[in-house]
Symmetry: C2
Subunit: 463 residues, 2 copies
Amino acid sequence: MASESAAPDPVRVLVVGADAAGMSAAHQMLRTARRTGRRLAVTVLEAGEDTSYSACGIPYVASGEVDSTDELVARTADEHRAAGLDLRFGARVTHIDLDRRLAEVAGAEAVAFDEVVVATGARPVMPPWTSVDGVPVDGVHAAKTLRDADTWARRLATGGPVVVVGGGYIGVEMAEAAVRRGLDVTLVTRSRVLSSFAPEISAVVVAGLRKAGVEVVEHATVEGVEASDGVVRALRLADRTLPADHVVVALGVTPATDLLAHTGLLSPSGALRPDERGQVVPGVWAAGDCCEVRSRDGFWTYAPLGTHANKAGRVVGENVAGGDLRFPGMVGSAITRFAPGPVHLEIARTGILDVQVTDPSVDPVVVVTEGTTASGFMPEAAPIMIRVSADRTTRRLLSVEIVGGPGAGKRIDTAAAVLWYGGTVDDLAWMDLSYAPPVATAWEVLQIAARRVAERIDRDAQR
Amino acid sequence: MASESAAPDPVRVLVVGADAAGMSAAHQMLRTARRTGRRLAVTVLEAGEDTSYSACGIPYVASGEVDSTDELVARTADEHRAAGLDLRFGARVTHIDLDRRLAEVAGAEAVAFDEVVVATGARPVMPPWTSVDGVPVDGVHAAKTLRDADTWARRLATGGPVVVVGGGYIGVEMAEAAVRRGLDVTLVTRSRVLSSFAPEISAVVVAGLRKAGVEVVEHATVEGVEASDGVVRALRLADRTLPADHVVVALGVTPATDLLAHTGLLSPSGALRPDERGQVVPGVWAAGDCCEVRSRDGFWTYAPLGTHANKAGRVVGENVAGGDLRFPGMVGSAITRFAPGPVHLEIARTGILDVQVTDPSVDPVVVVTEGTTASGFMPEAAPIMIRVSADRTTRRLLSVEIVGGPGAGKRIDTAAAVLWYGGTVDDLAWMDLSYAPPVATAWEVLQIAARRVAERIDRDAQR
């Protein structure tokens, strides 16, 4: 019919990757298109067979707390398709030709697009020793995919010693999973446990790990694995060999951006740096773990976290569909927990650690404060340690790190809000935070911690 | 010696009231005086015999969770005196003569001063029915003093039905204490339970109270008590009589400002309104529950909370000793908990509720959001309800109310920080808050709640 043929062809949007960032983008563009009237035909190509799953939930499948990987899936493929997305699994994009607007797909026909959203995520770092003669060693696995989650749930239920390689968030969480399974656990790390935190915080976490029965080996070098019949039996360090029926590789992730390696669009870290609207170059958008994230202060960091992926995906979706939304920048918030039983530690951080400050005009003042999560007379009172840094001249808050018992960790969000506004330690010390004996001290410990930095600055100024 | 006699006489500072505000002021002025070199002679007159105790801790003594009222005392009298304060108990100031700078003390000599700090706190509201022929009925008591705490710890251990009159924070907390003691509890309130919250929040709390076995009677009128031999036996409402071996009177407090009734300095609520330096008129300072508190927006509210008392006391102390510190205003944060066992509710609020907004240029948009405190697949996930209001035009956050399971309540502090900066719902929706499955959802529920208000505003604007 004439009136229909006169309508413009829909914009062909190709989303590469069907996890948090990609699916946030895809659904948001459908929602926004209803408002803007833009006609979109959205195709989502996923190399694997999973979509919209919580990678952060994997340790809790491994531990048995979560019964099935199904529970980690926020929306099923059917739900995505019912929303109007052309979602295709097993479609690995090997190359994106930006000039011809064509995505090459392994073993399938190339897909043409007008706009492409790169949401390819990240791949776990797997050092050479995780394979022998190019074949991955059985029992040596990362904790990144739903298949990994199933593998670990199955393996950890069988018993035998576990070695976790890597002292970051996932390493600590997988150590908890193995302890919950009642296994002998060794955590091995090349530097410190939670090395993105200050040493004082790491030390508390190491003490907690040890109290829970985890052997902690810091500053270790992994030389290789010992296997028989392709199955791991031990992990060799420089100075000792650890028996291991299971080796969790938790050495972080690296952006999955091979398909754009030829473009010159990648940062030195191999990631993309989309602008605040989520665009890399005209027609090319990106979000999630294949990207660096811009801080509110304008610094780029590779911070592959679901929170950023969700927000950035939403920003891209809105803009692809003709809206105007800006990613407002991050401040560096993150949290984890090590709570396998009698030990319960929540560990959180936000901001730029004093040791990471590169601006010579910034003079960090640091104070570590110990207190309690609830009034000292309450049975709920648990120890909490808070490390605060602020700039001496501007008094601006730089960073807050927290380690402590139940309720300690999410206090970081209050500090994150102060950082969001570029606020000072005085703001944090004097703002109107809530108090009741079971959940706080009358002077909230986060405020005591901030006040001590303020007092240190004042005292130093009088000298 | 000549050089000594040439030194100026110390400034005579009189602090009236030895609880949070008064003692914060007294100790801060000693600290600041060491820095400023000001010579102070600080006398503290306390009508009772308690000092620096946590009134908020009383329900937990009543419940037996805290063994002794001693634990509620932050600093003992000896410690105060060792710090250099002339602390006198049983010294009830009946009248302050501002012209002659003289405080009249019941049954003792008047005390002369150069500067006076009024920190007399508040008295529980005790309606006529709590006494018979002017004699307080045994078994009918408030929960305000350490003596009250001892009374309730002793009484609730003896069994018998309990009626709590008053549905505010203390009423709910005392109901918890009685439930923990295994007693039959009825909570009676003239309006709603937690009427400073929106009805949706109150309803969740009422459901929690009932689930814990508390009979809740809202919109009730107390007509009197029935007593035998001066001991309470029942509480009479308009339409029924409740057997009661114990009646907790939790009807709020009123500023203890009789000693200044003649001065014309009191607000309509009977409280003082010190300026941001804590001064009422030259030489007269005030802090704590005898004062109203100024919000950051400039509104005065009677909000008798320990958090304000501590901060305001510190401000007064600093300024009396020659420093310069300003009380930065409050935003209306408060929290309580009802968690007597299987039920665990944390209830918190901040900001100006939409129903309290008097500025006709403000057009509140309100959305109630339900979610979970942790990822849905985690055993830690507990329901949480968040009610957010914001101004339609400026998008400024007006208020946030929260009710939910463990970890729900202190999320209010993040909203309080946004209010502190006069931020918008968009700020709250997009700021960088922390996520891990045991403690949050990937889109933090507080941010989902804020985003829904933003979306409601956007949608309404398109109509």
